[in-house]
Amino acid sequence: MSPSFADFLERAETNLAFEDVPPEVRAELDDVLVGIAPSLYGESEGGGGGGNISPKVTDIIVTDRQGAVYTFEAEASDPQDSASALTYEWQIDGVQVGDGSQTLTRAFQSEGDVEVTATATDTGGKSSLPFSKTVSITLPAPAERFSVDEFEFVGPIGQTQSIAYSVSDADGDDDVLALRLSVEPDSDSSITASSTTLTDQDKGPVASLSGDFPYVSGFGGYTARLEALDLDGYDGTVSTPFTGEDIDDGDEFVTLREQTDAITD
């Protein structure tokens, strides 16, 4: 389709809407364009500005935030289609994301400014110019990234047989990598210090992990500590199988629970 006055207006750096220009002015300008260069402007469908007009993205807003998960919505207008009928291309820092819908839900692993860009395309195939907005991303406190679903000392009081524990992701990005259960004996205890690291070797980051620390060997007091690691605290690239050996001192476990107990018999 040949360019028309609407295509010029689409490139305006001000907010003059197509509807703000009287129809007779639009028609006159289209006629003028045809008069200047008939071969370039002369085949515009509908003439007088009546062809398909490109949509326009006017804003990007954050509509929801759950932990590290942000939901963006593009505000757009189009003379022919409703905003919900348009398809949207999204980019985060230049990387294409999203599924074509008006909203974009994205989990972030790090804080800082990101450039969110949306481009709308109407049902006639005309696209808007890209609209970009800088959004400052903040992440929840480390402990708020996890939810302790279970941390239970199993067995009669004083004769703990096992410790059941379960942790799930709480910031929406389902990136729990590992849980660590540690037993630290008191100074006069005969209990053996030990720890175990639980991962889902086949999947790497997961929504939740559950484990069962089998028994505490010896007698006396001890402290059991439950820690968790997710992608936000992992300093490396996850590959599968992902095991405890892939974790080193550079990775930041978050302490979720500490509880004392004593084996008396």
Partner: protein, 166 residues
């Protein structure tokens, strides 16, 4: 009324080739040369008096500052004025370049009306590929429409003429 467009100093290489040029120029409108550069801007045709070159920089001036010999000082209100084939951008470099004027439309509005200035390329839209030695001709279309009698809308803005190797 209308304003100014032009090109300033460009980086000169030993071969005379260039990869890109970008120059901001004034467009002044009250409801209104670079001629030898690698990317040359130059008035053409009988509408050339509506342009002016100051310190070597081409511009369009449709204000009272550039009144015609007959006393004209601006475009009419509630009218569309066409300055056809007003200026050209010529590739005087050694490689084909993609030339674009941005923005192609300037808008000024107030409560009484609006002023719209279109810079209209003649052979392609919105940009045009120019082989060495070829030129694109641009027209200027100015529309001033108002709700009441008369309007204070005017523009004194700048557009960018850019040339980048295709």
């Amino acid at each position: 009324m209308i304003g100014t467009i032009g090109a300033g100093g460009a980086v000169v290489t030993g071969t005379g080739a260039f990869t890109s040029v970008e120059a901001d120029r004034d467009v002044a409108v009250d409801v209104a040369a670079d001629a030898n550069a690698f990317l040359a801007l130059e008035a053409v045709g009988p509408n050339a008096p509506y342009t002016e070159t100051t310190d070597g920089q081409f511009g369009v001036d449709l204000t009272g500052d550039n009144a015609t010999g007959a006393g004209g000082q601006g475009v009419n209100a509630d009218a569309t004025t066409v300055f056809e084939d007003l200026f050209e951008v010529r590739n005087q470099g050694t490689q084909e370049v993609e030339v674009e004027v941005t923005p192609l439309i300037l808008v000024d509005t107030d409560t009484s009306g609006a002023l719209i200035v279109l810079t209209v390329p003649k052979t392609d839209f919105p940009s045009v590929a120019l082989a060495p030695g070829t030129a694109e001709t641009y027209s200027l279309v100015v529309t001033a429409f108002a709700d009441g009698v008369g309007s204070d809308v005017e523009t004194d803005d700048r557009v960018t003429v850019s040339g980048e190797v295709s």
